[in-house]
Assembly symmetry: D4
Homo-oligomer: 175 residues x 8
C-alpha cells in the first residue's frame, strides 16, 4: 500500500456518507489517503495522537469533518503544523451554520482552511492541490478535472440550447 | 490558602476583564477558586492537563471562557467528568454568536453548561450553586444574594415611584 | 421509591420524546429523578411552585426543556438557588435558535446552564456530574460511560479500517 | 391622580431611557399610565403580582420591556388576560434579536403583541389605540398625531424640494 | 349576522390554513369576525380601503397575516388608528424570519403588534383580549380558556405521573 | 427567430426548474429571451464572454441565477454595463441566505439588482419592465398582468366571502 | 429644468445622507432625477400617488430607500409597472438585515430589484444602466465610469507595488 | 529579489491594513510573497490574469481577501488549480457574515480554504504550512512559532498566577 498523503478524519460515523465523496475524489486524482473516525470530545487521546503523529507518519494534509460544536479541525490544528482543512457538517437544527462558525472562527495563530458546508469533495480537491505542488501527476489530474468540469457544463449548455427548457427538464426527471 | 473548588480558565488574557467578574462573585460567595490562562489551540497540552487533573486536584467545577471558535470548554469536557460551564466571549465580528454556538452545540455524551455571552457572573453563581449542594454556607450566601438582588430592584422601583422618570434618569446620568 | 435528585420539567408533552433520552440516561447512571410537565406560560402557578419547593423536596438539579420563547428554565431559576439546566427544544420555524437565545441570554444574577438544542442526554449527564460530586457511585458510572463512549468510537474506527468506507456504509444502511 | 390605564414595566432601570419615550407618548395622548421596574427573574413575586392584579387595579394594557432572555412580557401574559405588549430592548451582543425572539415566539394560548426593537413609542401608541376603543378623546388624539406625522414628513419633503439635498444636509448638521 | 369586531386579512389564500385557527379561536370566544384576502402588493387599492374603512365599518381590531416581505400589517397600520396585529407566516426559505422582521421593525409612529411565526391563534386571543375590555362575556371566555389551558397541562402532568414516560409516549403515538 | 432581449443564465442545470418560471413569464409577456448554463467558477471563460458580448449581441438585460457562493451575477456585472438582475437560489443548508448575501452585497460601482430567493418570475417581470421602457406592447402586457393578478386575488376574496373558510380550504385540498 | 427620468424617494430624511450619493452619481452620469421624502407608513397617500403617477410624469425608474420594516419599495412596486429599485438602509439594531429582507423577499408578481445595504451609488448606476438602454450618452458615461473604476484600482495596485505596504498605509493615514 | 511563493491579493486598498498582518507573518516565517490589489468586480481582467498566470509565475498559494459579496477568492479559484485561501473581511453592516458566506459556500469542484473573518495572520500561516511541505526551513519556523505561541500563553498564565487578576488587569491598562 502506498504511503497515505492525506488523512481524512471525522468526529462520527454519521459523517461518513458525506465524507466518502472526499475519498472518491482523492482516489480519482490518485492521491493516497487514509480515513478514520476520531472524536475531539469522545476520543480526545486519539484525536491528539492522530494530529501530533501525522507529520511523522508521512501525511501532508489533514481533512477534518465535524458538525455542531465542530472542534475536531481546531484540535487537530492545535497539535500539528501540517495544513488542516475543515469540512463543516450540516446539522438538522442550524443547517450547519454552527459547524461552520465553530470551525472557521479560529484564533490567531492556529489556522484551519474551511470549505463549504458538507463540502467534502472540495476539501479533497484542495488537499490534492496542496499535494500537487510536489507531484506533477496530481497537478495534471487536477487540470484535467477542471477541464472536464468545464466540458460538462458546456455540454449541458449545448444540450439546453438544442432541446430547450421543457425537453431538458423532462430529461432530468427521467434520470 | 484554601483548596480551590472552582477553576476558571480562559483562552486568552483579553478575556480576563470579563472573567474578573466571575472571580469577584465567587469571592463574595466565599467559594475558593483559581484562575488561569490556557488555550485549547495554543497550549493544548496545558488545556488537556488542566482538565484531566482537575478532579484529583480537588476542583469541583470548571468554568471555561473563550471567544470565536470557542473550543476550550469542549476540550475541557472531553478530559474530565467534572461539570464544565462555558462563558462565550463577545466577538467584534459576530457579537459572540460564533462563541455561543461553538460552545453550546456539543455532541451527545460530552456536555457543557453554557451561560449568556460574557455571562461571567452567572457562570460563577451557577458554579457556586453546584458547590452549595455540599456547603450550607455557600447555599446561604446564594439565598442572601438572591434576596439582595430582589431588594435592589424593588428599591429602584420605589425610587422611580417616588421621583418619577425624569428625576430618575437625571440621577442615573449623574452617576 | 428513592428520593429523586434531578427534576426534569418540560413546557409541553410534545417535548417528551426528546426528553425521554434524559430520563434513560439518568436511569442508566443510577440517578433517581422525576419527570413532569409544567408550563411557564400556561401553568405559571405550578412552574413557580415546582421551582420554589424543589430544594425542600430534596432535588439537587432541575432540568427544564422548552421551545420557542423558552422561558421555563429562566422562570425556574428565578424561584430557586438550585442549579438549573436548560434544554432548548428544536422549533420548526427557527431550528431552535429562538429557544436557545431565550434560554441562554439570562440577565446577570440568575443563571441557567444551557446545553445544545435537543441536548436532553447532555443535560442528564451534566446533572449527573453535579450529583456525582457527592455520590461516588454516580461518579464511577460517569467515568465508565465516558470510557464506553471512547470504546465505541474506537471500535467504529477499527471497523472502518478493516472493511473500508464502502463496506461500512453498506453496513450502516442495513441497520 | 387619574386611574392609570396602561402599566409600563421593565426588567431593569437600564431600560428606562428607552421606555421614557413610551411615557411621553402616553402623556401627549392623554392616556393615564404608571411606570415600574419589576424583573421576571430577580423579582418574580412582584412580576407575578403586578400582572395578576393589573386588571383589578383598573389597568387595561400592560407594556413590558426587557432585553436578552426577555421573559417579562411572557410572564406577565401568563398571569393576566389583559392585552400585553412587548418592547424588546436592544442588546450589545445581538442587537436585540435575542430579546425579540424571546418575546415574540410565545407558545399557543398566551399571546404577547411585540413591537420593534426599542420601539417604546410604538408600544405606547398601540396601547393608546386599544384604550381609544372606549375613549373618543384618545381616539381623536391618535388621529391628530397621525395627521401631524404626515404633515411633518410632507413639510420635510417640501423643504427638500425647495433647498435641495446639499442645503438640507447642511441644515441637518446644524441641529 | 352580528357586526364583526375583528377583521382578519391575509396576503394570499396560501395563508388561509394557518389563519383558520384564528377564526376558530374567535368563534370559540364568541367574538364576531370577518375574513378576507387582500394583498398589499397585488391589490393595494383593496388593502388601503380595507384599513381606511375598518373603523367606520365597526371593526375594533385588524389581524393581518403575510409572509416574506410581509407588508400587509404595516400598510394596514398606515391607513388606520385601530390596533393592528401581525401574524408573520412561515416561509420555506427563511422559516419566517423574513416575515417577522418585515412586520415587527415598524418605524416610530406606526405600530404593529406582532405575535409568533404562524401564531394565528395567539393573534386571535390578543384581539379578543382587546375586545374584552368592553365586553364582559368575552373577558369571561378568555379567563375560562386560560383556566382550561392550565387544566389541560395539569391533566397531562397527572397522566405522565401515573403511567410514566414510556406509557405516555405510546399513548401519543396511538393518536 | 426574434432577437433575444433578455439573457437568462444560471450556474448549474439544477437551477433550471426554478428558472423555467422566468422563461414562461417572459414568453407570456412577449419578451424574446435566451437561456443558457454558464458557471462563474466552472466555466469562467464562458461567463466572462457571455457578459462581455451581451450588449453587442443585442441583449438589454441579463438575469443571473446562482446558489451558495453565488458569484455569477457579480461576475456578469463586472463585464458589462447592461443591467444585471440576480436570482439567489435556495440552498439546502442555509435556505438561500448565503446566495442572497453573495449576490446583493456588491461593492460600490458594480450593481446587481437582486430579487427574492428563487424569485425567477419576479426577475422576469423586472426585466420586462426594463424592456417595456422602449416597447409599448410589453408595457401593455405588464399592465394587464398586474390587473389580472389583482383580479385573481379579488376573485379569491369573493369566493372566500361566499363559501367561507371551511369550504375554501376543502376546495384547495381537492386541487 | 430637464425632465427627471429617475425618481429617488426615501422614507425618512435620516436616509438622505446615504442617498445623496445616488444623486451625485446620477448627476455625474448626466441622468436627470428628482429626490423626495415619502413614507409608506406615515404618508401613504403620497407614497401611493408618487408611484401611481410616476410613469405619466415621465419617470423611467424609481429608487426607493428605507430601513427596518422597509416597505417603501414594495409599496411603490404595487402601484406602478416601472422598474423599482430598493436600497435597504443600515439599522442600528440589525445592521440592515431587517431592511434587506423586508425589501427583497417580495411576493411573486411584484418585483423590486435590491442592491446592497446602503448601496445608494449602485442603485443609481443600475438606474442609469436602465436609462442608458435608450440614451447613448448615458451608456457612454457608464462605460467611462467603469473604465475609470478599473484605472483607479490599477493605479492603487501600481502605487502599492512601488512604495510597499508600509508606505501605502502611511499614505492612507495622512488622508 | 526572491521568487514569491505566496500571492496576496485584495479587492480594495481598504483591506490593506488587515492584510498587512499576513505580509508580516510571511516575512517572519521567511516565505517570499507579493501583494497586490485586484478586484473581481472592478478589474476583472487583472483578477483573471493574476490567477491564470500565478502558477507559471511560480506562485504556490494565493491568498485572496475581500468583503461583502466577496467573490475574489472564488474568481481566483476558477482560474487556477493552485490552492486558494480566502480571508473574509469584516463589514460594517453584517460583521463579515456576508463576506464569509460569499467565500466559503463555493460549489462542488472549485474549492477555497477560508479562514476566520479578518484572519489575515492565519491565512499566512496556512500558506506557510503549505509551502513548508517542500521547505524544511519554513517548516522549522512554523514549529518555532507554535512553540513561541505556547510559551507566550504560558508566560501570561504564570504572570497571572503571580500577581493576581487585579494586578494583571492594571498591567494591561498601562500598555
Amino acid at each position: 500500500m502506498e504511503q497515505p498523503l492525506v488523512g481524512i478524519i471525522m468526529g462520527s460515523d454519521s459523517d461518513l456518507e458525506v465524507m466518502s465523496e472526499a475519498a472518491q475524489t482523492l482516489e480519482r486524482l490518485g492521491v493516497p489517503f487514509e480515513v478514520s473516525i476520531v472524536s475531539a470530545h469522545r476520543t480526545p487521546v486519539q484525536a491528539e495522537e492522530y494530529a501530533a503523529q501525522a507529520e511523522d507518519r508521512g501525511l501532508r494534509v489533514i481533512i477534518a469533518a465535524a458538525g455542531g460544536a465542530a472542534h475536531l479541525a481546531g484540535v487537530a490544528a492545535a497539535w500539528t503544523t501540517l495544513p488542516v482543512l475543515g469540512v463543516p457538517i450540516r446539522t438538522s437544527t442550524m443547517g450547519g451554520l454552527d459547524s461552520l462558525l465553530s470551525m472557521v472562527q479560529m484564533p490567531s495563530g492556529v489556522p484551519v482552511g474551511v470549505v463549504s458546508i458538507n463540502g467534502a469533495k472540495n476539501a479533497a480537491i484542495l488537499a490534492a492541490q496542496i499535494v500537487a505542488l510536489r507531484d506533477a501527476r496530481v497537478a495534471q489530474g487536477l487540470k484535467e478535472m477542471k477541464r472536464r468540469q468545464a466540458d460538462e457544463v458546456n455540454a449541458k449548455a449545448a444540450r439546453l440550447a438544442e432541446i430547450g427548457i421543457k425537453g431538458y427538464l423532462e430529461g432530468m426527471k427521467k434520470q
